[in-house]
């Protein structure tokens, strides 16, 4: 069950504010500060997902990915195996929104995914890795150590 389950309109302009904020934090405070903010996001805001992973339960993580990638209109596949979750993103909705708004995509933008996923998994039996496969495409993998 999702802790946060928004409905209604989507304000995709927020992807632009995220893009600006990532560059601003790195330029003025450095990458460690950005990582700290995403650590808090992953473990405090998404406490429910993180706590379930600590208990070896990825159900809310799977539900979160499926719900919000569908809600954002992403082109993606979610492949769920025993002890492994593979999210194949063919068109990231955040990067698509930035392109639509005409904003240059920050070279650091994907750190939002990498740092967030790492924070959600930190200290749990679950690990994660993100591989960029193109502009606005990637493969995000969550797995238990034995599946590496």
């Amino acid at each position: 069950m999702l802790r946060y389950h928004e409905t209604g309109e989507l304000a995709k302009d927020f992807h632009g504010t995220l893009n600006t904020t990532i560059d601003y934090i790195i330029k003025n405070y450095g990458q460690d500060t950005l990582k700290k903010i995403f650590d808090n996001m992953g473990q405090k805001v998404y406490k429910s997902i993180h706590t379930k992973l600590l208990n070896d339960d990825p159900s809310e993580l799977i539900e979160h990915i499926a719900y919000f990638f569908n809600r954002e209109g992403a082109d993606f596949d979610l492949n769920i195996k025993t002890n492994e979750i593979i999210l194949t993103v063919r068109q990231c909705p955040a990067i698509a929104a930035l392109n639509k708004m005409g904003f240059p995509v920050s070279p650091h933008f994907c750190l939002s995914t990498i740092y967030l996923n790492n924070a959600i998994c930190e200290g749990t039996q679950w690990k994660t890795e993100t591989t960029k496969t193109g502009k606005g495409s990637c493969i995000q993998r969550f797995y238990k150590e034995a599946n590496k």
């Binding site: 802790r3 946060y4 928004e6 209604g8 309109e9 989507l10 304000a11 995709k12 302009d13 927020f14 992807h15 632009g16 504010t17 995220l18 600006t20 904020t21 601003y24 934090i25 003025n28 405070y29 500060t33 700290k36 903010i37 808090n40 996001m41 405090k44 805001v45 998404y46 406490k47 429910s48 919000f68 990638f69 809600r71 954002e72 992403a74 990231c92 909705p93 955040a94 929104a97 939002s112 995914t113 967030l116």
Partner: protein
Amino acid sequence: MIPSDHFVRFYNEVFKELDTLGGLSKYYHEISKLQEKHCLENFQKNGLQGVYNYYVQVKHDENCIMDIELEKHCLTLRMNVCPSLSKAMDNDAGASPLYCNHCPGWVLPLYTKAGLYNVYDKMGQTNPQCCEYVYDDLKLAKEKYDQLSKTKPSDEILKNW
């Protein structure tokens, strides 16, 4: 990806961190510069009607429960349920005590650049409500500010002149 729906909870964590580093005001100005790209030309060219049009779209896109009233020299934006603070409060990480400051933080400099006068009633940091009065006439804006200042705590009423 941070879903659009969850951006404000990220924003909330940014505010907490930058507050500890003493950098909130500078960040608000960065956001204001970003918002200029969306709003400034419209506000300068169309005045209160431009601000009205912008907030009609924001009300739709951000699921705001708000009343927008345009009169001859005054636009009133009455936020009855702010979706942003509501989400920041419905949040396992808890809301920044300064969360509401970001709105006047970015919008007041923008109104100044557009030649408009704003009186901003924050209505408290834990109440998801606020009210903005935007004028194209400084005399009327000053009258509203004086009127509200008599009945509200001074740190709750902001202005841009």
